[in-house]
């Protein structure tokens, strides 16, 4: 219960929250495509895109620090790879800033989707959009059991900490390997038990649920405003240059 959750702010109320997950997925992915296809030297456009993302976050009432914090964590992995571009000279520098800006905007949009949508509902949206069932199941189990496994790990750590007082560190490496091994075995056995409990409720390979998400007036409104807006922003650039 101590863990922060992927969709911590998903139960707030705002226009963005009330949209159907499919609307958000389609519109934001469309926006990402627009961002990616923009030529690398049109910095004014990127500024406008950025302010649009900023606006979306403000409308959704998710704390800016949260979205940017998540974005920064994700981008930091990319940064290590990007920094090697510096050695390519001026061309490399343009490439670097270009990839950095585009990926940062895209990541912010994805964080915005995941933090304004309840994960369960997001999965239902993906399911309605004909995502293969196996992916939905993997994601759903991951989301359900991630925290159970973290709890299990913490219990094992606690057991270790109570009997380890901080000497002979190198001898402890073996213990640590054991802990990892035990964690694998416990996860595997839990998987087996879950499977039996699914079997005893008539599971036959297909996950069925009542999928009741519907497009509403708000969704059509968002489509009508957002998609043309993206196209206009994208085309506007060409006339500027």
């Amino acid at each position: 219960m101590r863990h922060s959750f992927i969709d911590k702010y998903s139960d707030r109320k705002s226009f963005i929250h009330s949209l159907d997950p499919r609307t958000k997925l389609i519109c934001f992915i469309f926006f990402i495509v627009v961002v990616i296809t923009t030529p690398s030297n049109s910095f004014l456009n990127f500024a406008i895109y950025f302010s649009l993302v900023f606006l979306l976050i403000l409308i959704s009432k998710v704390p800016l620090s949260y979205v940017f914090g998540r974005g920064t964590i994700l981008i930091s992995f990319l940064l290590i790879i990007l920094l090697t571009n510096i050695f390519l000279g001026k061309k490399g520098l343009i490439l670097l800033t270009n990839i950095f800006i585009k990926s940062f905007i895209s990541i912010l949009l994805l964080v915005e989707i995941s933090s304004t949508t309840n994960f369960t509902i997001l999965l239902k949206g993906l399911q309605k959009m004909k995502t293969p069932d196996i992916f939905i199941q993997i994601l759903s189990f991951m989301y359900r059991y991630l925290f159970v496994i973290i709890d299990e790990m913490e219990r094992l750590r606690l057991g270790w900490d109570t009997r380890y007082f901080g000497k002979r560190f190198f001898l402890q490496i073996k213990t640590f390997a054991n802990i990892i091994g035990i964690l694998f075995i416990r996860s595997y056995e839990r998987g087996e038990r879950i499977y039996t409990s699914m079997l005893s409720r008539g599971f036959d390979g297909e996950i069925r649920n009542l999928n009741e998400i519907k497009f509403s007036f708000r969704d059509y409104l968002f489509f009508i405003i957002f998609i043309p807006l993206c196209i206009i922003l994208r085309l506007w650039k060409i006339r500027l240059l």
Binding site: M1, F119, T120, L123, S140, F141, Y143, R144, Y145, F147, V148, R190, R193, I194, T196, S197, M198, L199, S200, R201, G202, F203, D204, I207, R208, N209, L210
Partner: protein
């Protein structure tokens, strides 16, 4: 008087000479013979590792040992497993193993949907099951946001929604606070079904059950009806 009444009912579970050993060679059941009548409430007690859970897992064909098990006269075979699992519902010891979807509604609806019921029927069943375990309004909560007692009751609801004839429970009162335990006992007494409970909670078994089996070394060494 009561026993004779029960004896007039149909035989719900009939087990003949059941043997089972796990793949690692650990022999757990060594010839179980048992008849359980309809509407009977049976408690199974015994030492740790005596074979209580193993026996329960045989009741709907999850484990297959040597011997014969009949549920309402039907042999458990591969071709009628689906049918058997409609009749026998098992509540596992750890509710985290039973609640595997991301909200309570989906979990309770999982069984009924697999039975091929209509949408309205599924919703009705979920509502009924949740009201029996007093979890109305928990439909959209996530399992990891529930307390252990709530999880346990939700796990029971996932089985109740399938409306099985026979309910098998593994340690239903383990880790529950006295208050929740009391609620659960009252709930079990209220249910008019065949119930098989494996437990260490002798007090609970005494209160809920009409018959107690004592398992020792993979055999039923005592069978008391009261």
């Amino acid at each position: 008087m009561y026993n004779i009444e029960i004896m007039e009912n149909k035989i719900a579970i009939e087990i003949k000479n059941l043997h089972f050993s796990y793949p690692d060679g650990n022999c757990v059941l060594r010839g179980i013979n048992l008849k359980i009548y309809e509407k009977e409430k049976v408690g199974i007690v015994g030492e740790n590792g005596a074979g209580k859970t193993t026996l329960l897992l045989h009741l709907n064909g999850i484990l297959k040992g040597e011997g014969e098990i009949k549920i309402f006269g039907k042999n458990i075979e591969k071709k009628n497993l689906r049918e058997i699992r409609k009749i026998v519902g098992i509540v596992f010891q750890n509710p985290d193993d039973q609640l595997f979807t991301t909200n309570v509604f989906d979990d309770v609806a999982f069984g009924p949907l697999n039975l091929g019921l209509t949408k309205d029927e599924v919703k009705k069943r979920v509502k009924e099951a949740l009201s029996i375990v007093e979890l109305e309004g928990f439909e959209h909560r996530s399992p990891w946001h529930l307390s252990l007692g709530e999880k346990k009751r939700a796990a029971i609801a996932t089985i109740l929604s399938m409306e099985p004839e026979i309910i098998a429970m593994d340690e239903p009162t383990a880790n529950l606070s006295p208050k929740i335990r009391r609620k659960l006992i009252d709930l079990l007494k209220k249910l008019n079904k065949t119930i098989v409970i494996a437990s260490h909670d002798i007090e609970m078994v005494k209160e809920v059950c009409t018959r107690i089996l004592y398992i020792e070394n993979g055999l039923i060494s005592d069978d008391a009806i009261f």
